[in-house]
């Protein structure tokens, strides 16, 4: 292949595939490179793809018999956990039953592979049906630079040339570092390890246990005892006939507290509430992957340079501000915006940063950067010890008293609450927390 591509997309994850799909539909000649056997084969997520962008990318995706996704979310739960108890905020609504859904659970090996088939269909329908490619089993060793401008990539002895490169390599962004947009060493401070098991059930058992109807699903996040004092949280998502159960754990905190992720996952699973949820299941996969915390201090210095754009988690576009762990939707939107910027660059025949900086502008103007910037304080707040252990303990303590009926005179709830506050925190600490929460959420 001596011919030059308009664009080389590195990585067959959500960001890279969304970029590729957008390029194909805009009649661009591109090469998508994936190092795994197929798109998705190296990818891990919790995970829920939030929002309705998927419907923009693949209109009416839900009409397909098996559209790559597992279940749509109509039931959400945020659970505070202490050693014996769980106290949940639980919201289920028919409002969420209508397509396009506001969140779908995915398993990446299946979902990304499905999305990759959509890219191939779009390639086949484009003017470059014979000239654009999805190439798997190729590891990009280097982004080729000439006069500090990207001109292609090298894999082993082989080179592929292009006017532009979209780096969508994921959180372990070695190429982003190679081109100088991120430091060579990224410290553990704002990085977490996600660890999970996929647990299989008889589908009827799963649907009855979690009160699922058809393809409806539940997402449940956990804070408190789940991580045994390590910064992070837990999650449980329902797939078709499996659940994804796992933890997200601060690497720095595990280092300092001498805790191992697989021990913590076992710890989480011994909680009575979790044990009841997973009884009788069969573990079919164990996986782990680094995930960024959404702290903007971990972001690359810039997301563009001459001939290069960075999309998805390679750009650390991910956030958990308490409401949901968002990352795949950011990947999707940033991939689309990166590809649209490349389309403009081709129209102007200028792939320099003078044109590519447009990507940064539209990303800043999108909900992705607006949310990341607006909710930084919430990200910091969530990672404090108060939110990680004192508040869950306090809430569960209060819950235990409130829901205990003793055939004795019952104190007023306020008294119970004040008692719980005193045992785990202080009124002053909670007032401060309340102010911070009001401002940050």
């Amino acid at each position: 292949m001596d011919e030059k591509f308009d664009c080389i997309v590195i990585g067959g994850g959500v960001a890279g595939l969304s970029a590729a799909l957008t390029l194909a539909r805009n009649n661009m000649k591109f090469l998508l490179i994936e190092r795994g056997e197929f798109a998705g084969s190296k990818n891990v997520s919790g995970g829920v793809l939030w929002g309705s962008d998927l419907n923009k990318l693949v209109p009416n995706y839900w009409e397909e018999e098996d559209g790559g996704w597992e279940r749509f979310i109509n039931h959400r739960r945020l659970t505070f956990m202490d050693e014996q108890s769980t106290f949940s905020l639980d919201f289920k609504s028919k409002h969420f039953n209508e397509a396009p859904y506001s969140g779908v659970v995915v398993l990446r090996s299946k979902f990304d592979n499905w999305l990759s088939a959509k890219v191939q269909e779009a390639i086949d329908a484009s003017d470059f049906a014979m000239d654009s490619f999805i190439a798997t089993n190729i590891k990009v060793d280097e982004v080729l630079m000439e006069n500090d401008k990207a001109v292609g990539i090298r894999t082993g002895e082989e080179e592929f040339h292009a006017d532009s490169v979209i780096i969508a390599e994921g959180v372990n962004n070695l190429l982003t570092r190679q081109v100088g947009l991120q430091d060579k060493y990224v410290p553990a401070d704002h990085m977490l390890t996600g660890i999970k098991e996929v647990i299989r059930f008889d589908q009827k058992v799963l649907e009855d246990r979690f009160q699922l109807n058809g393809l409806s699903g539940m997402s449940n996040e956990f804070v408190g005892w789940a991580t045994d004092g390590v910064e992070g949280g837990g999650f449980l998502y329902t797939n078709r006939d499996t659940i994804s159960l796992g933890l997200v754990l601060s690497i720095k905190d595990m280092r300092e507290k001498k805790r191992s992720p697989h021990d913590l996952l076992n710890h989480f699973k011994t909680h009575p509430t979790i044990a009841d949820a997973i009884r009788g299941g069969e573990i079919v996969e164990y996986s782990a992957h680094v995930v960024s915390s959404g702290d903007s201090r971990a972001m690359p210095k810039e997301l563009y340079k001459d001939g290069i754009l960075i999309a998805g988690e390679a750009a650390n576009l991910l956030m958990n501000a308490g409401k949901a762990i968002q990352g795949m939707d950011y990947a999707m939107r940033s991939g689309i915006l990166a590809a649209e910027t490349i389309v403009k660059a081709k129209e102007q025949n200028d792939y320099s940063s003078a044109v590519l900086r447009e990507y940064r502008a539209v990303l800043n103007d999108s909900y992705v950067m607006k949310d990341i910037n607006n909710f930084q304080d919430a990200v910091h707040l969530l990672h404090t010890e108060t939110m990680q252990s004192k508040v869950p303990n306090l809430i569960c303590d209060f819950g235990r008293q409130f829901f205990t009926i003793k055939n004795e005179p019952t104190p007023k709830s306020e008294k119970m609450l004040l008692g719980a506050i005193k045992r785990h925190s202080s009124l002053w600490e909670l007032i401060q927390l309340g102010f911070k929460a009001r401002k940050s959420l």
Partner: protein, 100 residues
Amino acid sequence: MKNLKLSERLGLVSYRNQAKSEIKPHIVVDTGICNSGCPHKCTTWVCPANCYTLDESDQVHFQVEDCIECGTCMYACDQGAVDWNYPDPEIGRGVTWNFG
């Protein structure tokens, strides 16, 4: 549900090029650095696949065969001992997730 041991968990992972006896390690660890003054040796507990182990005399050893390419050690090691890369599709190990 019975909790699985780590070896049982890793037994559920599909590794690539498993039939090949010679593979090219995608991570190179300078255990000399680990064993000469690292204040924590944290890779021996943070790695989800237990690729880093301690022997009886507290020396760190590394094996790449069980690696699931998560990246944790690349961030956890702040001593410059871990040279992390992705596995070569042909001559490396690494994973193929069935669920992901």
